[in-house]
Symmetry: C2
Subunit: 159 residues, 2 copies
Amino acid sequence: MSDSVSSSKLPLPLDHFLCFAIYSANHSMNRAYKPFLADLNLTYPQYIVMVALWEKDGQTVKSLGETLFLASNTLTPLLKRLEKMGHVTRQRDPNDERQVVIYLTPQGQALEEKAINIPECILAATGLTPDNIEYLQAQLSHLRQNLEAATETNTHIET
Amino acid sequence: MSDSVSSSKLPLPLDHFLCFAIYSANHSMNRAYKPFLADLNLTYPQYIVMVALWEKDGQTVKSLGETLFLASNTLTPLLKRLEKMGHVTRQRDPNDERQVVIYLTPQGQALEEKAINIPECILAATGLTPDNIEYLQAQLSHLRQNLEAATETNTHIET
DNA sequence: TGCGATTAGATTGTGTACGATTTATTGTTG
DNA sequence: CAACAATAAATCGTACACAATCTAATCGCA
């Protein structure tokens, strides 16, 4: 069955692309989070930034970027929106004026209470067992590390 | 070790969020594809649309959307860019003028040859065994289906 | 000390995503 | 067959992502 695809010369149909499985799972995860995050008036990327800050307050933009694999061109406008909403402050580090340190406001800290049971709601929506989830996470982390290693060293030899 | 997190009241640190594992794996996958897709002058979403069309030409926007889990507000501008690049044509179905059918041009068909070995390059970059990949795909597909089912029926009971 | 290199953020432009709305076409029902 | 509901795309506004570039601050080393 899996070797009788005749409508395409590609080795794999779209259904069997790992990249597409990740891509579409990511979209469905975003959609699953949306109603819960709407209560907090946050987008998903804003939410993971808040999660990172709830874990460790007072991080620089660079530090947040390393945690979340995002650069300043994504984080700066996002953090400005969080600042405008009153969840964080952005202030230059007096010891190194190049750096901007992000601090939670009391309001930003308080938001954690409203967000605290979202993960278990999502957990339920996944319909997976904790063992499955843990294994999936580990596999995806492993995959991410491999891809990053392969991408960094990739000088992309031209034909 | 995993039960000694004291800096957060959240049940899980960011490292253990499945959503984040998917989110960041998706980003790393995008970055891995980028150099290969740059040769084709395609973005990743444009690429998966082309893959869907190489698999089955002459699809409507709606049909493509169902395959890729994307709506017209995402697909319309993307397809217009593919049209401008000369890879596809967009034409109204004479039998139902509401529908727009997407056809590959000869140039769009020819592009498949240049794209045909990308999947194996990515496969190598993942550093995973075919068994691992197949299992990951299956798990992610299953997850997506569960999330969609849970999201659709989600009336999101208010407190 | 001073000047080039490095570093951290910010900015700009392009391209997704997607909620909400609009337009055009088709179906349906009295 | 006329009014209205349903459907398919397109449009609009907001918010990521990210390459490329710019600015300002710091570092390094002669």
